[in-house]
């Protein structure tokens, strides 16, 4: 049970690195952005995992609660806004990819570099 207490963090580490692998190893630019999204989601998971308190509940105050235990609202606030910012910046990245496709005719990184070298 002791070790299961760290399981969430291991999943965070693995997801983070799966996203990182997609960013460094994949050639396709859309795939790289998907990797960035995975990386980002892993960070979200880390924060929300840290906010959890055993036996706690969502931080919404209600009348008549006896000795309530609440999970930490602060990481939740940070991630709530980060999700919306994340989709906006991903959309910006996709916009750049679309323009690259129109200018270069490809979204594979090595082909773009070859065209640039010519």
């Amino acid at each position: 049970m002791e070790l299961l207490g760290l399981y969430h963090y291991w999943v965070f580490a693995v997801l983070l690195m799966i996203g990182f692998y997609a960013v460094v190893a994949k050639v396709n630019l859309v795939k790289k952005l998907i990797g960035v999204s995975l990386f980002q989601a892993a960070v979200f998971l880390l924060y929300i995992t840290m906010s959890k308190v055993t036996g706690g509940t969502a931080p919404i105050l209600q009348e008549g609660m006896v000795d309530p235990v609440f999970s930490n609202p602060l990481p939740q606030v940070l991630i709530l806004t980060a999700i919306v910012v994340g989709i906006s910046t991903t959309a910006l990245g996709l916009g750049i990819v679309v323009r690259i496709k129109e200018e270069y005719g490809t979204i594979e990184e090595h082909e773009i570099q070859e065209i640039d070298r010519r």
Partner: protein, 326 residues
Amino acid sequence: MTVLFGIFLLTLLVITAVAIVQTRNLFVAVMLLGIFSLLIALNFFILDAADVALTEAAVGAGISTVLFLGALALTSERERLGTQHRWLSLVVVTSATLVVLYATFDKPLFGDPGAPVHQHVAPWYLEKTPEYIDIPNVVTAVLGSFRGYDTLGEVFVVFTAGIGVMFLLSAHSGGANRRKQEASGIGLREHLIPRVVGRLLVPFILLFGLYVQFHGDYGPGGGFQAGALIAAAFILYALVEGEERTLAALPQSWLNALMVSGALLYGGVGLAGIVLGSSFLDYSVLSADPIAGQHLGIILIEAGVGMTVTGVLLSIFHAFAARDQA
């Protein structure tokens, strides 16, 4: 039981992530990314983060999938060459994974109430929210009032990203494209079932979006979630009925006005605090009673957030869709 369910969901997340990276078909990868978002939203929910789960489900599984599909329609659906420097990347990534895993052994155990993160300001927020702000949802209180600066910054980042996308994608798409779009922008109108179901769902999604917007003080919800939901309703309408009709219902000029006035409303409420003799983003002075002032301030800034998020997400969607028809 919840612990077991959590572990099951986390394992599914890892499997989905591996499948996303493995597949060479980008369409499949985007669909799997939607599933991944839904799974992670479920995880957030069982980790007591109801607000975050709602946002992730609306943004990650809904809007992000549509945007990725829009980009795929403009680029290509298949990766031509899978990977480069495969072994080097694997070595780097594996060693980085080991370093991060090693670091996790210093983390406090999952759910430990004595963890440092729970000792600093969080107990203060939980304790003082009834006294200073008096709304049940502490997440909204922290987001709107205690940490209003952060949220203002985030709103401006979203706003800037929206402007960026519009600049990037509006180049050379003049009137000619618009006219072409009228002819081809019929959406799914010839498919009966999606059309009937889609049209039935749109008003309910809009209603739910408005509920989430105005109920954010009392339950999970607020401007970010509502903005994403309302944008999703219009995107669904656009998919079913075509771009042209959606732009007729909610023209781009309105969307521009919506995103600008949302950001200005937020900043304006902040400035009103200064004008009324307190500091920036202090809502207590907006009304004679400080708590009523806080309520008013939070409702106003949440409205600003909702307007900006709706405007930006819909503008981004329309920018991709208009490019698609060009």
